[in-house]
């Protein structure tokens, strides 16, 4: 920074401050947008419409899980079990389809599984006051165990005749858009309305911001924590179903990788626009960003393990930016 010749270097700093505020609001978005020309320069096919849609398709599963996580983060708690839950819901849905019970029952099975997980998580954390990390780590192990138990550790194959709808959701298009993306948009809209427009969402943010003040303002902190875990697990269940659709079946322990990705997407999302608050639009952008990176790396033939490293830089970079912004205030 340049110490100007005026007495105290005020103007220079305030320009810097403005830059930080701008970067705090839009830095993540700018970073994301920069990725496109860079990859496109190296590999022009990256920018084709087909590939863009493909990115959106690939983003769906991880973003859905991250949307679930957004609810618990908003309420000031954490859910480590989201990856395991997504995997378990995916196996349950695949098994139901494999037995020929049909698509609607498979959806119901996944959602019901999610609901159970959410209720138990909520019970452990909100009612029994067990530390949220510990309780949901326990739940993570339970879901992984159930996952392997139910799948018997082997892939779940779904016969071709039962798989049409699943394939449409996983690989197909509706009205020129990937079906997966349409589902994501629909779920994201519902989540946005709940978090941003409803009294439930406002109260979730309130208990996340200051549970004691929320309690004294008549907010049922315990009940809302519970609600956060249930909402989270339900949306994660949709993500689990999407996972089955992408895999066109069930694969044991397929959900576990989603934990890190969803944490990354949601935390990158908090750096976008609203100071440190998890929110739906941010999470969606974060999810798409991660999917873009993954896709671009494949195009550029960069080994997958570099992705992890780049992802780490993306998270730390984004969060550091918003952190600096807060300090500058």
């Amino acid at each position: 920074m340049s110490a100007s010749t005026t007495a105290v270097s005020g103007p220079a700093l305030s320009r810097r401050q403005r830059l930080f505020i701008f970067l705090g609001n839009y830095g993540t978005l700018i970073g994301m947008l920069l990725v496109f020309p860079i990859i496109a320069m190296l590999e022009p096919r990256f920018l084709s419409t087909g590939n863009m849609l493909n990115i959106l398709r690939q983003a769906a599963t991880l973003t859905l899980v991250a949307l679930g996580l957004t609810f618990v983060l908003a309420a000031g708690v954490f859910d480590i079990s989201v990856g395991g839950t997504a995997g378990l819901c995916s196996i349950v849905a695949a098994l139901i389809l494999a037995r020929g019970y049909g698509f609607p029952l498979a959806v119901a099975g996944a959602l019901l599984t999610g609901l159970m997980v959410g209720i138990i998580n909520g019970f452990l954390v909100a009612r029994l006051h067990i530390n949220d990390f510990l309780a949901t780590v326990a739940m993570m192990f339970i879901t992984i165990g159930m996952d392997v138990l139910l799948s018997k550790g082997a892939n779940v194959h779904i016969d071709f005749e039962y798989a049409a709808e699943l394939r449409l959701l996983g690989k197909g298009d509706v009205l020129g858009m990937p079906a997966a993306t349409l589902l994501l948009i629909a779920v994201a809209l519902v989540c946005h309305v709940i978090l941003d427009r409803s009294s439930l969402g406002r109260r979730l943010y309130a208990i996340g911001g200051n549970p004691r003040a929320a309690h004294l303002s008549g907010v049922h902190v315990e009940r809302l924590r519970w609600a956060a875990f249930i909402l989270c697990a339900l949306v994660v269940a949709v993500g689990g179903f999407m996972l089955s659709a992408r895999l066109e079946g069930g694969k044991p322990r397929a959900g576990e990788a989603l934990l890190g990705d969803s944490i990354a997407a949601a935390s990158i999302g908090t750096t976008f626009l609203r100071r440190g608050r998890p929110h739906v639009l941010g999470t969606v952008l974060g999810g798409i960003f991660l999917a873009t990176l993954a896709n671009g790396f494949v195009f550029l033939n960069i080994p997958f393990y570099y992705q992890y490293i780049v992802r780490a830089f993306a998270i730390v970079g984004a969060v550091a930016f918003s952190g600096m912004r807060l300090q500058q205030r």
Binding site: A7, V8, R197, S198, R203, A206, G209, A214, G218
Partner: protein, 509 residues
């Protein structure tokens, strides 16, 4: 502004300092000067710009305009470290000490004398600490962990740390807020000694009597401006206070006589089985009931019970004649009883929320249909409330964290009002707010009464209790020991009951 002629010994001059925050001008062309061997008091309401000015001086903020001279030389402020090295030491309200380190370790924190290998030379450190405390006239066991010290002693440790580098300018931000009278006397003695050594002392305080006891000059700030710099000998507390608030103080307690209305809340034989026992009273519309008691007398617990935050073990409650029970603050609010908690940052506000989100939190259900918030209505209501309560903010979307204490308190009160409460339980509503905000809070209370509400005021400030309540009760060891019309009692009687639980002929000391 009103500098004495001897500018040679001026250790600090701040010229024309301005500082903008988003939407507000925190400092507006402020001039300020400090001489060696002078105690210069800086007073003003919360939000007047005192702390911003200090933060500019100590290098925490860079100012947008103006310049700072130390010992007649212009300084380009870059960091707090730089200002420290230039001889500016500052004591803030919160004491940054490491509890399990001992006194000497805390004094030398980050400045430990080191040997060749970078190892701390412990014996030298303790010798130096001993010497330093000796020059301050303080006797403290150097090897006692700081957590075992009282507040006043901790402050001495902080002061010793600040004086380690022989500052020429010593800034104290509300140093006496948590001190006992004896500790204050001790601190003042120390300041006098520093003054004799030629240190320039900048002393920020709310307390007028302290300013007039110790300061040589006083600078009054209001709305980010330096309103006046006066010689203490040539002014008086009333003048300073009216400069601070910008108006005369004769209407400080705007208590209007109101007709007492119907009963809003009655409690009988209320107790929590431990700290509160057999408390009975009633509150009527237009009435302020004061509850006075020393720390530990059960007043805090009683406030919690009234607000539904603490379960009742015994007794009954009637709201407008109907029996009721509160299992949580939610039920109390539903029955029209709202608490304005003592600690607004920890209990009153969601600091990361905006003014709007905080104001509507308790009464949120009023603007919800089918689970969704009617946001246009919510915004309109918030705007009205900001205007009605004169909340100094740049808008409903400002984060409350950025507001001053008095304005934060108004947001908490607005929240209670928007929950449509009829009984307001104020717990120390004016603690830590300045004179101007105090007056505004009293006006608000008076307006609530005119609107037909009843108020229960928990306060440890006798003048407040005596001036704005209609009825006053004193708690002692969990019981009500006195219940009188306010006009039939006085400060001595209240204090005596609060301290001894009964009237007695012998003096209370």
């Amino acid at each position: 502004m009103h500098d004495p002629p001897s500018t040679e010994q001026r250790v600090l001059a701040m010229h024309n300092i301005s500082k903008d925050f988003p939407g507000v001008r925190a400092l507006d062309h402020v001039d300020f000067s400090l001489h060696g061997g002078e105690i210069h008091a800086l007073v003003g309401e919360n939000g007047a710009g005192k702390s911003t000015l200090i933060k500019v001086l100590t290098g925490i903020y860079a100012c947008d305009e103006g310049c700072i001279e130390l010992d007649g030389r212009e300084v380009h402020v870059r960091s707090t470290r730089q200002m420290q090295d230039l001889g500016v030491a500052c004591i803030y309200q919160e004491l940054n000490l490491i509890p399990h380190f001992d006194v000497a370790q805390n004094i030398f924190l980050g400045a430990e004398p080191r040997g060749k290998l970078g190892l701390v030379r412990w014996s030298e450190m303790y010798r130096e600490a001993e010497r330093l405390l000796g020059t301050l006239g303080v006797s403290l066991d150097l090897r006692v962990p700081v957590r075992k010290l009282g507040f006043g002693q901790r402050q001495m440790v902080i002061i010793a740390r600040a004086l380690l580098h022989n500052p020429t300018i010593f800034v104290l931000d509300e140093p006496t807020a948590m001190l006992t009278r004896a500790e204050i006397g001790y601190l003042f003695g120390l300041l006098e000694r520093l003054k004799e050594q030629g240190v320039g002392i900048l002393y920020i305080s709310h307390r007028m009597e302290e300013v007039f006891e110790i300061a040589d000059r006083v600078t009054v700030m209001r709305d980010g401006k330096n309103v006046a710099s006066l010689q203490v000998a040539e002014t008086n507390p009333d003048q300073v206070i009216s400069l601070m608030v910008g108006r005369q103080l004769d209407d400080m307690f705007p208590k209007t006589d109101l007709e007492i209305g119907p009963q809003l809340l009655a409690v009988g034989g209320m107790g929590d089985g431990a700290l509160v026992q057999d408390v009975s009273f009633e509150v009527r519309a237009g009435q302020v009931v004061g509850i006075y008691g020393v720390l530990g007398s059960g007043t805090a617990e009683l406030a919690g019970m009234l607000a539904g935050d603490r379960p009742l073990a015994a007794g009954k409650m009637l709201v407008r004649g109907e029996p009721t029970t509160f299992r949580s603050p939610h039920h109390a609010l539903r029955d029209g009883i709202a608490l304005i908690p003592k600690d607004r940052r920890d209990e009153g506000l969601v600091l990361s929320f905006t003014v709007r989100e905080n104001m509507t939190l308790a009464g949120l259900g009023r603007w919800v249909s089918a689970g969704l918030i009617r946001s246009r209505e919510e915004k309109a209501v918030t705007r009205d409330q900001i205007e009605a309560l004169n909340v100094r903010t740049y808008g409903a979307e400002q984060v409350v964290q950025e507001l001053s204490g008095g304005n934060q308190q108004k947001v908490v009160i607005a929240k209670a009002m928007l929950s449509q409460a009829q009984v307001y339980v104020f717990d120390e509503p004016t603690r830590g707010v300045d004179v101007g905000a105090k007056i505004e809070i009293y006006r608000l209370i008076s307006r609530l009464l005119q609107g037909g509400a009843g108020v229960i005021l928990f306060s440890s400030e006798l003048p407040e209790i005596l001036h704005i309540t209609d009825r006053v009760m004193v708690m002692f060891r969990g019981r009500m020991v006195l219940d009188k019309l306010t006009q039939q009692t006085d400060a001595d009687e209240l204090l005596m009951y609060a301290l001894k639980g009964e009237a007695s002929e012998t003096d209370v000391s």
